[in-house]
């Protein structure tokens, strides 16, 4: 009976978010996601900058974190000596255990000033590229993407590690037997595990989309659409965290909940797809199980 409660909760989240955002849905319809003006005083709500900020920051974070996370997964599962194995697993898990708010405090007081120095030091010819244009504020897309990528690494790498562990040892042995170098054997294992690895990356993406506190504290909270890494922008989760308690009027509140609803739907889709990938990897033909004495299995 209690188990069903879990299903009920997930359903209820969707229903409640929809109910609490109906005013805004009725009033604005699709226009809500196609306009850029966010002006609570004039009761004008356009949420496109938030979608942009969330997607842009998450994709940037993925670009940074994916190679690093895969490198860690490969190192731990294929290369590391046994004694280092546990230590590295523990340390990467610790990266996931540090609370988001602590990342945020560190981001505000350490990362943002460092990024500001970097931005001031940007040579003039680089500033003419749209990607690096704008005043050196420190807070902005670059800081957010950096901090997000650090936060996502442990999620991607731990799933990728598990997936690589599921690659049968015989595959690697076969590669080595054919005279493959280490990298060639690893590449083969990666190819064998490709669906699971895509799943791992998607799972990290889902995490990045929903991350709230640390991003809120460093992204600058300015609803604008810009390619510039230096520009302060805003994400869906951040606007909810910042403005929910100050939302005056039902329409304002409903507009914020509608953003939450869409965030919920997007993360749901991303998570479901990533689970499907990981699951289909697990369903692949498994090697015959080795016989083990029960005590050992436990």
């Amino acid at each position: 009976m209690f188990a069903i409660l879990l299903v009920v909760i997930v359903g209820a989240i969707g229903v409640e978010l929809f109910r609490e955002s109906r005013l805004s849905i009725h009033q604005f319809g699709w226009r809500f996601w196609q306009t850029d003006t966010w002006d609570p005083v004039a009761s004008e709500f356009g949420a496109r900058p938030f979608i942009w900020g969330t997607l842009y920051s998450s994709i940037l974070a993925l670009l940074i974190s994916t190679p690093v996370a895969l490198g860690i997964a490969i190192f731990i599962s294929e290369l590391a000596p046994h004694w280092a194995h546990r230590l590295l697993v523990f340390l990467t898990e610790l990266l996931a255990a540090v609370p988001s708010i602590v990342y945020g405090v560190w981001g505000i007081f350490v990362l943002v000033p460092a990024v500001r120095q970097l931005e001031i030091a940007t040579p003039a010819w680089m500033k003419s590229i749209p990607l690096f244009s704008g005043p050196p504020l420190g807070v902005g897309m670059l800081s957010a993407a950096l901090i997000l990528s650090v936060m996502v690494i442990p999620f991607t790498s731990s799933v990728a590690r598990e997936v690589l562990k599921a690659v049968p040892q015989s595959q690697r042995e076969a590669a080595y037997a054919l005279g493959a170098t280490r990298w060639e054997a690893i590449r083969m294992a990666l190819f064998y595990a490709r669906t699971g690895i895509v799943g791992a990356i998607m799972l990290g993406f889902g995490r990045a989309l929903g991350e709230t506190m640390a991003v809120t504290m460093v992204i600058g909270n300015n609803p604008q659409i810009s390619w510039s890494l230096y520009a302060p922008q805003y994400t869906m989760a951040a606007v909810i965290a910042n403005e929910f308690t100050e939302a005056t009027g039902d329409l304002y509140l409903h507009a914020l909940v509608e953003i939450g609803l869409v965030l919920f739907i997007i993360t749901l889709i991303v998570n479901v797809i990533s689970r499907l990938f990981i699951w289909s990897m697990a369903q692949q033909r498994r090697p015959p199980r080795r016989r083990t004495i029960p005590q050992e299995a436990a």
Binding site: V7, R19, L79, A97, V102, I108, F109, V272
Partner: protein, 282 residues
């Protein structure tokens, strides 16, 4: 020539993998270093025993926020532990059935829902109808986040219990419920406790679901039907504030949070290592 290139590439990739490990551990080291270095100078007994000082007055602490965090996390645990364990038992006992698969899927989904969205959900069901922010609502929000964590650990650990144990109990004439409650569950209990500890550590550091459920409170409050201050929300407030004193308090709060998480993780790790040794010895 070709073989030289292959060998070179192989070494290069191995090197890059090593570099990526360092690239991830470097920020971890930086964060821990700054939190400890900045936090330790701002942390004193007053932080744990005194109330926040008025703006402009030095000193003061976060006694009310610490107590508030304890209350909210405890409420979450009371709510989530029974539900989490029972659903975990269900999913492992009826593992082949369609409903178990649906429940497992729901748990994974819930685990992936952004915490801020869970905050909105609890606001809609537990704050708005009563027109009252409360510690209880905060606890519910944390509980909702905890359930899938506890459920999945319980399930995984129950599946690890040798089936011979259960069969032995059933052969002695125990009913299924009795076999689970008195034989299978106790066998997995140490591991489940570890899982709960890790879930508590993770939940204690959450901020987003508390902002508009438990809200905040500048005063001492242990009433679960009133808004309550929590360590994480208070750190957020202080970190965003303009005063040097607030910054120091924020660092001190961050240090306390990191210490809690670190202690729980280490404790859990030692417990797991000990259990593994016990099993191997058996």
């Amino acid at each position: 020539m070709r073989n030289r290139w292959r060998r070179f590439l192989s070494h290069l990739i191995v090197l890059l993998c090593g570099v990526s490990v360092l690239a991830a551990l470097f920020p971890l080291a930086l964060i821990l270093f700054y939190v400890v270095a900045q936090g330790i100078t701002s942390l004193n007994i007053g932080f744990f025993t005194r109330m926040p000082a008025p703006v402009g007055e030095p000193g003061g602490g976060m006694a009310n926020s610490i107590v508030g965090s304890l209350i909210v996390v405890a409420l979450g645990a009371v709510f989530a532990i029974p539900i989490g364990i029972l659903s975990g038992v269900y999913a492992s006992e009826y593992k082949g059935t369609r409903l178990a698969a649906v429940v497992r899927f729901a748990a994974d989904t819930l685990n992936g829902v952004p915490s801020i969205v869970i905050g909105i959900f609890i606001y809609a069901v537990a704050v708005r109808p009563f027109r009252q922010f409360s510690a209880l609502a905060g606890g519910l929000a944390l509980g909702v986040m905890m359930i899938p964590l506890i459920m999945r650990t319980t399930e995984e650990l129950l599946l690890l219990v040798p089936s011979t144990l259960r069969e032995g109990a059933l052969a002695l004439g125990a009913t299924r419920a009795r076999a689970v409650l008195t034989v299978v569950l106790p066998a997995a209990l140490p591991g489940i406790m570890t899982g709960i500890l890790l879930a508590l550590a993770r939940i204690a550091g959450e901020t987003a679901p508390l902002i508009f459920t438990a809200l905040n409170n500048a005063y001492w409050s242990t009433d679960i039907l009133q808004p309550v201050s929590t360590l994480t929300v208070q750190v957020w407030l202080y970190a965003n504030g303009p005063y040097d004193d607030w910054r120091r308090q924020a660092w001190a709060g961050a240090l306390v949070l990191v210490t809690i998480v670190l202690a729980c993780s280490l404790l859990a790790r030692f417990a797991t290592a000990r259990m593994e040794r016990m099993h191997r010895g058996a």
